[in-house]
């Protein structure tokens, strides 16, 4: 005959088995559904609402607004060639890198018309922490040196500084563009302090930093060559 649970209670003992069952189920749930990766971080950005590609070009020619261009290109593409030559070299490089899914391992970063630096993509992948730290430092130092000189307007707020436009070749990896954006932000944080947070209310106090809008797809055979030609010659 089964033991009556009320007898145990009368004896001052509580049946712990149902509680243990529940706890075990909870434990099992948490073990199976949790992961122990470090929480990801974010970099905030606001897209401009008053510029960008327009459906119709402006009727009267206007002076281009003053802005600081930062250019990121595949390494080894120097100026002085025609779009068709850039296109041919690009296809040749991609064919050479086919084993790596056509991903360019390095990139060339330049602020305006200054001499630039080479970015090592392999240092920004995987678990190469020491490599990533040193590469990020190198990029930040270069950008700080370039932006901090004559390009810095003295005596005005961050919002009134010349906008920065990052022009990255569309076939490069996202990490090169984001690392450059990070370097510019590091400079702005140094200058602006708290107004570089992720709170949308603070975003309108910041200097304008944007990625250049992509070229409209024109489906020409030399599309990438033309893009490279423009970016190589952009100062």
């Amino acid at each position: 005959m089964a033991e009556d649970p009320s007898e145990k209670i009368n004896e001052g003992k509580i049946d712990l088995v149902p509680m243990i069952d529940c706890i075990m189920l909870l434990l099992l749930f948490f073990i199976l559904t949790t992961k122990f990766t470090a929480p990801e971080k974010g970099i905030a950005s606001v897209l401009p609402t008053d510029k960008g590609q327009s459906a119709s070009p402006p009727k009267a020619p206007v002076d281009p607004p003053k802005q600081i261009n930062i250019v990121i290109l595949p390494e080894g593409f120097v100026d002085g060639y025609e779009p068709s030559q850039y296109q041919a070299k690009l296809l040749q490089e991609r064919s050479r890198l086919s084993a790596q899914n056509g991903i360019f391992p390095t990139a060339f970063l330049r602020v305006g018309g200054s001499s630039g630096i080479v970015l090592e993509g392999s240092k920004l992948n995987g678990k190469n922490n020491a490599g990533a730290e040193s590469e990020i430092s190198r990029i930040s130092t270069y950008i700080e040196t370039e932006l901090g000189g004559e390009r810095e307007k003295p005596g005005v707020g961050r919002k009134e500084q010349d906008p920065i436009v990052i022009n990255c070749f569309s076939g490069l990896s996202w990490k090169f563009a984001l690392l450059t954006y990070d370097g510019v932000r590091a400079y702005e944080i140094k200058k602006a302090g708290a107004h570089m947070g992720n709170d949308p209310k603070e975003w309108d106090k910041q200097r304008e930093i944007n990625f250049a809008p992509p070229r409209v797809r024109n489906y020409s055979v030399k599309e990438l060559g033309e893009e490279l030609y423009e970016e190589v010659h952009l100062k």
Partner: protein, 207 residues
């Protein structure tokens, strides 16, 4: 019958007593003290509840975001919503690179570099989110109504930059994926732009 055994044989009680003595099971019938085990289980439970993150969020593990230094903790402002757009790189989506997007745990892939199914699906999801969101007028007086939604672009480190650019353009509603990615002809009243973005990244030491 073994020598020395009584003629009637041993009764059950005597056999059990003999076995308990022999195998050190004197306390076999005594109740086990469950309290230390419960303590341990509670501690384990507490550990998993506090230290683990439940995997039901919108982030997928097969995307490796690039490291940056100025990254901050992703916190949603009060009363703002967040939509995570996972953008796959060439390493995940195969060769050659393709513009594959995962949003709300649904993956949308395009068939080729000039095929825009994933962008069309993204715009459809964003249109729905825009219609349901709380909106406010653009402070720059553009006539646009901006939704109180932050779009988190979680792109793989080796995603082609063009894909990230085009996701941004689809988000701000300036190109039309239904019309071969041509610039969209629309008025501020009919546009549904998302301009508040967060690019997902990590600190160099985090994995």
């Amino acid at each position: 019958m073994p020598p020395g055994m009584p003629a009637g044989g041993l009764d059950k009680k005597a056999i059990m007593s003999h076995k308990k003595k022999r195998f050190g099971l004197e306390h076999a019938d005594a109740e086990v003290d469950l309290v230390p085990m419960i303590d341990c289980i509670f501690l384990l439970l507490l550990f998993f509840m506090l230290c683990g993150r439940i995997t039901m969020d919108q982030r997928v593990n097969d995307i490796s975001v690039p490291p940056t230094r100025t990254a901050q903790e992703v916190k949603n402002p009060k009363e703002w919503e967040r939509i995570v757009i996972n953008v796959y790189g060439s390493t995940q989506a195969g060769t050659p690179p393709r513009n594959t997007i995962l949003i709300n745990n649904v993956k949308y892939s395009s068939l080729g570099p000039d095929s825009y199914e994933s962008y069309i699906a993204l715009r459809r999801v964003l249109d729905r989110a825009y219609d349901q969101a709380t909106k406010f007028p653009d402070p720059k007086n553009s006539g646009l109504q901006l939704p109180m939604i932050v779009l988190e672009i979680r792109a793989d480190a080796d995603t082609e930059f063009r894909v990230v650019q085009e996701v941004q353009q689809v988000a701000c509603d300036t190109i039309n994926p239904n019309d071969q990615m041509k610039p969209k002809v629309s008025t501020p009243a009919t546009m549904k732009p998302f301009v508040f973005l967060v690019f997902t990244t990590r600190k160099p030491g985090d994995h």
